[in-house]
Amino acid sequence: DVKVTQSSRYLVKRTGEKVFLECVQDMDHENMFWYRQDPGLGLRLIYFSYDVKMKEKGDIPEGYSVSREKKERFSLILESASTNQTSMYLCASSLYSGGIKETQYFGPGTRLLVL
């Protein structure tokens, strides 16, 4: 069974703080993703990574950065948290199989509240 874990289930931070969200997968997947999930908007892709030290912007990268120093770990960084970044953050991973698009496996989510 693929396991995707996220370091925190709930986080409360103050405006302007630097926030780190960590994600780890144990299935040697090449691809990792960060989404935010908001009611009425669904899931929106923030960043993704297809290999160590490689990253690509998703649809809403503004205010976020990412780091992937090891294959199993993908970090989302909020350089200076703002109240509009209050959301549920989901991490996902998938195996890249050449031209075949594999299923994405999701973590349990981190609910971030920025005060």
């Binding site: 993703f33 989404y35 009425g40 669904g42 892709l45 993704f48 297809y50 690509e56 998938s94």
Partner: protein
């Protein structure tokens, strides 16, 4: 532009009633389409993918390229089907296995 539209935020039915969750997509090529489900207090998980042409938990979904739709159907809803359902599109071009999600539909099945 690539887009997935789920027109209903909430679908409320009684147990035993048929269910159809609508999904329309906008994509010029041949996409790969999925339904993901999130039960209360559980993580988002794959329900089914169109390429497999399978029935999972009694749900089926048929890709209609003419209508650019991928509606999710079940003939007899159960209370345990209550969940949030997301339709997702994976464009087969561009690589990297990205998914584009719809806004989601909450299915509430009442006894």
């Amino acid at each position: 532009a690539q887009r997935v539209t789920q027109p209903e935020k909430l679908l409320s039915v009684f147990k035993g009633a048929p269910v159809e969750l609508k999904c329309n997509y906008s994509y010029s090529g041949s996409p790969e389409l999925f339904w993901y489900v999130q039960y209360s207090r559980q993580r988002l998980q794959l329900l089914l993918r169109h390429i497999s042409r399978e029935s999972i938990k009694g749900f089926t979904a048929d890709l209609n390229k003419g209508e650019t739709s991928f509606h999710l159907k079940k003939p007899f809803a159960q209370e345990e089907d209550s969940a949030m359902y997301y339709c997702a599109l994976n464009p087969l071009s561009g690589g990297y296995n990205k998914l584009i999600f719809g806004a989601g539909t909450r299915l509430a099945v009442h006894p």
